[in-house]
Symmetry: D2
Subunit: 208 residues, 4 copies
């Protein structure tokens, strides 16, 4: 825990998919996430990390899933299962409350929202890598949803693209404990340099 140390000039928090549909009472996917998210206080931990980063003047980045719009998928010849589900469920529908930022995670002026991603990785087919490079960022502190899909995908891509990553283990959630375990304990230890608690990460950010 004492070894967690960041370099302020190259470190940034990355908030993944803080949509109402995921983490707000009444959101389309909230009933499936609620059990895990409440057990580890996911949302309040996300707020703690975000606030610590803002206080330390770290630049905040957001990776947001594509908001559903009519006509998005009808003409595709090729589609992945997770995209077919997004199509059927109309998750994060554009123009609806579910497709808006949870009120605690509305980007502040000067924070960077990457282009929406079509599958799970915040990097794929977006300007996230560019925005991070334009700001000189090499180390990411990742919070958000869902652990074994968008979070893991983004962490895997970050490692592939040359970034170092911290995952805040109690500032993410999933549909089941088994999925959380697969993401946090089986897969991400290969790609994330640090998997730590909110308490540890907030302390490290506070020391900057």
């Amino acid at each position: 825990m004492s070894t967690l140390a960041y370099d302020k000039t190259i470190t940034a928090p990355l908030v993944i998919d803080p949509y109402n549909d995921f983490i707000s009472e009444g959101g389309k996917a909230w009933p499936r996430i609620q059990a895990v998210a409440e057990a580890n206080n996911c949302v309040s931990h996300m707020v703690e990390v975000l606030n610590a980063a803002r206080t330390a003047k770290l630049r905040v980045f957001y990776a947001m899933h594509h908001r559903y719009r009519p006509g998005d998928y009808e003409t595709w010849r090729y589609i992945a299962p997770i995209q077919r589900m997004a199509w059927q469920r109309r998750t994060f529908e554009h123009g609806t409350w579910g497709g808006e930022f949870h009120p605690d995670f509305v980007p502040a002026p000067g924070e960077t929202v990457a282009q929406e991603h079509w599958c799970s990785s915040g990097f794929a087919n977006t300007d996230l890598d560019l925005q991070l490079k334009k700001h000189g960022i090499h180390q990411l502190i990742v919070i958000g949803l869902i652990a074994h899909t968008c979070v893991e995908a983004t962490v895997r891509y970050a490692a592939e693209l040359g970034y170092e990553v911290t995952v805040v283990r109690d500032a993410t959630a999933d549909y089941s404990d088994e999925m959380m375990h697969a993401a946090l304990d089986i897969n991400m230890p290969n790609y994330a340099n640090v998997i730590a608690s909110t308490e540890e990460v907030v302390a490290a950010i506070g020391a900057l």
Copy 2:
């Protein structure tokens, strides 16, 4: 001319940056483009190609430059000269008429507008490559602006990424004849499989 032949299932037109600021009377950059664009009837040729493609039921794609928004560049540590110019000139300013599609090139329902690009290539840091793959496209018919910047950049990227490209030589324009010559005669012949006239391309599309 007789050899121009397309396969309908894998071919699509790509319209680059048909903004009012570029090709409408009153646009910010129009005064610098007007001489070349009027000499080769660029805009009406672009309309001819687009109409031919729509008639042939080809799927139309649009690659649009980033619309200027306040705060876009202020925090970047690294910036390219062409981005610095876009910042100073506020080209394609979001929310203004100049940042809207020229009325002849407003996307129809079912046409695909890729995410905005930050520099010159319609492919870089966007979902253009993904959208083309999702629709099974391997051959592009490119029209639009500016020949030696966004058009050439997009054609170069298309070749690097594995696409075959037709450039319609009188459906693009530039700030000077020398720039047109550099793009059409010096550089793009290495990357575009065909550089042909509107008449030739429209005939080939009409034969589909």
Copy 3:
């Protein structure tokens, strides 16, 4: 099972990391893989799929991990945990038997070996996407190692980049049943269009 159908002109098998170090008696990682690989007859299933593909004249692609060479990592400022392990273990050391293709998976003339990948995805920082596009491939049949690292990473990237994917569930292996379960049952169903047995896939290829 009867619904598995491929289009010959756009389908290709992708063989991931068939190194001696992974799947040959005496390989560095073989002792850790052997239990799972022998339980599902991984290697002989991989051979069956490869042979079926060659018989059907499908074009075969290989995604190979970076072979360790001295000096590879010493100067990196940023490194992922899985790369640090590759560095320490010198897996697939260049110039050694462990870094050679298992004899049953030596590429035949006319087959395509993508550039070596540095992390887990066969697509990241390589020419795999380009080679697939140059050959008009949109659907992949994936076999090889390790299920929850390179195979899952490559499948996730394939989905992100627009490919449709079949994973052959008994033609891959892992360090533990739990890891296999995480890859095959928790994660890859979101990204692979089909997860089927060797028997099913070989039958579908044979029907081409």
Copy 4:
């Protein structure tokens, strides 16, 4: 000239295609390059920049074109004109003297050679972006061949991907003065932050 200043920790020279076929007496393309290259002392300037960088302990990177190997292109469904030419001419043929580094540009131990590129950009479908990120590089000093193809393509990609670039104008060459002019005066000023002489760049590196 006095304003040229680099930050040692984020700057690296990038040497593009220093093959015998390009810049050695007897090379396949040398007869077409010789006039321009001798007029501006291209090769000796390239050596000066390289030596200055090595003396200053900057890390050197190399972007090398694909070496021709039999079978490379025969099965491609789609091909760019410049690739068709490389196929016909067998430029940089693997295993021949023409495909070896010019003796003055053989990488020293600890220098990084990116994977070979298939078209013109050293970044496309290679690990160049990854290697630069792994070493924390944000600013490139570009030398090498050919100005309007591989050099311009690499500079354009560098700008698209977020790098700042210096092009050394008398440490590159081309088939004609007109091509040099198109690259150095028409196109690259949009993408390169600095286009300066060997004398200026060597002085700035010497000041580190």
